[in-house]
Amino acid sequence: MEKRELICIGCPLGCMITVNMQDGKVVKVTGNTCPRGEKYALKEVTCPTRIVTSSVGVSGGDIRVLSVKAREAVPKDKIFDCANALKSIKVAAPVRIGDIVLKDAAGTGIPFVATKNVKSGGTL
């Protein structure tokens, strides 16, 4: 029997949740105060994901850094791979919110998109 300890992020209560697992399957969830805690715990022990946000370089625009986000949640163990995949990217202005800056981050199939508009014609 494997035991996983989690802090629920649903509210400031921050329940300490214990998940008992056997052969990769959840057997029991304890410590949560409400159903949201159980839902969170199940997701967190089976397929934890995060919305990764970062930035890339941008040339020919009015600013030099473009903020970006993963269009879908990224598996937790791929966060660093995605962040690293963004490091070598430099896009050219103009850019619109939602424009794809990276089609497939680190083999996840998840695209990264711009979260800010950049006008062209700047000197940066």
Partner: protein
């Protein structure tokens, strides 16, 4: 002749933008937003993480995306704004003096002023940390701007003092950019940051959070070379023998935010010692007639959604003021004072004129401690009229109650509304 505007809004961040839009919506066309930065959007421009707008737009946006939802409308509505423009002075007769590179020093006449200057970070000087003054010590927000907007890394080996949300967010951000965040020290026995940020910004990356710890020494003369942190006792005094050394080249401070009220003070706006923001009435108007306040300059918020909502109210009321709708249409003035006691640190607003209030008025407040299974209670003079159970209340999460005009009108002799926390 001096140029004049009906409403001048100081600050083009989330509060200023929402106030401008609502003022325009309410029928005022002569509006000017004055913004000191190079773009509209304020602090949201550097908050590139997601989680904004869940209340307002029912989706999680990043800071720049949330800001753009408002900026887009300001552009559509052709609301006038000036960038790179610093307001130098305001007077009680509502003359606003601003300065920028193209116009120089300019005086304009406003009929109404909305204060939306936001807040700034508590600096090192306010903390009494001993040691030299080497390079490498940044406020968390400064580091955030450097990384997310200017494209510079402040350092490689990082220690963070204070577990406010900006510090937590920056722990993750710097880690993703290749820095090594060694520890986050928090002087309080609990973190002021959201649980979600503790888990997703620290735990996800194995960054330790040391509660009841603070920095007692900073090493390095030209550049930070290391820090010593120590455990503190219940009086927040370092406990000898608990010192631990960390080598680092950078220290981030995430130790609180202070509303930026230098301009408010110039016209003697009455201030609340708890919030460090103006005392306002139900219309978010200060003691100076026609001067309104909203957003972080009024009291520091944790959710931008609440800033937008509050600022829209300030914009609506400023519009009412300049359109002359504040007088004549309302019932006779009947002003009651709100008192914050027993665990409630303050309320915004501080007074309510029942004759002038909208159908409902939201009263926002913060508690001074962590309360579990307790009640928010509201008293009209000595009569308890609300007793609402809350599983958890914490200093980091703003609370609110709603006042209803019809109900208040049933109490013609009411003098005082008390908001308090009760155990049962």
């Amino acid at each position: 002749m001096m140029k004049s505007y009906e409403i001048v809004i100081i600050g083009g961040g989330p509060a200023g933008l929402a106030a401008a839009l609502e003022a325009k919506e309410s029928g005022v066309d002569s509006i000017l937003i004055l913004e000191r930065d190079r773009e509209l959007g304020g602090i949201l421009n550097q908050c590139i993480h997601n989680g904004f707008g869940l209340h307002t737009f029912k989706e999680e946006l990043t800071g720049p995306e949330y800001a753009y939802r408002f900026i887009e409308k300001v552009l559509e509505e052709k609301i006038e704004y000036k960038l790179n423009t610093m307001v130098m002075d305001i007077t009680q007769s509502k003359i606003v003096t601003y300065m920028n590179k193209t116009e120089g020093l300019v005086h304009i006449q406003a009929e109404s002023i909305i204060l939306a200057m936001g807040c700034r970070e508590r600096p090192r000087g306010a903390l009494n940390i001993p040691g030299f003054r080497p390079a490498g010590i940044f406020s968390a927000g400064t580091a955030q701007r450097l990384v997310n907007m200017e494209g510079y890394m402040p350092g490689r080996e990082v220690v963070i003092l204070g577990s406010g949300d900006i510090g937590l967010i920056m722990a993750r951000r710097l880690t993703l950019e290749g820095a090594h965040v060694k520890v986050v020290a928090e002087i309080m026995p609990y973190s002021g940051g959201l649980k979600r940020n503790i888990v997703q910004c620290l735990d996800d990356f194995g960054i330790p959070l040391r509660l009841s710890h603070t920095i007692v020494d900073i090493r390095g003369v030209d550049r930070v070379e290391g820090v010593t942190i120590a455990q503190v006792d219940e009086h927040m005094k370092p406990i000898p023998g608990t010192e631990e050394d960390y080598d680092c080249d950078t220290i981030l401070l995430s130790v609180g935010l202070i509303p930026e009220n230098e301009l408010s003070n110039k016209i003697n706006v009455q201030m609340n010692a708890v919030t460090s923001g103006p005392v306002v009435n139900e219309s978010l108007e200060t003691n100076i007639e026609g001067v309104f306040a909203c957003g972080n300059v009024l009291h520091v918020h944790d959710l931008v959604d609440y800033v937008s909502e509050e600022a829209a109210l300030a914009g609506k009321n400023a519009a009412k003021y300049v359109l002359g709708k504040f007088d004549g249409q309302e019932a006779p003035a009947h002003t009651v004072t709100l008192e914050a006691v027993d665990g409630v640190r303050y309320t915004v607003p501080k007074t309510v004129n029942i004759g002038r209030m909208a159908d409902t008025v939201k009263v926002r407040f913060r508690v001074g401690n962590v309360f579990k299974d307790s009640y928010v209670s509201v008293y009209y003079d000595d009569e308890r009229v609300l007793h609402r159970k809350k599983m958890i209340m914490a200093p980091g999460e703003m609370e609110d109650i709603t006042l209803d005009r019809k109900r208040l009108q049933e109490y013609p002799d009411l003098k005082k509304i008390t908001v308090k926390i009760e155990r049962e």
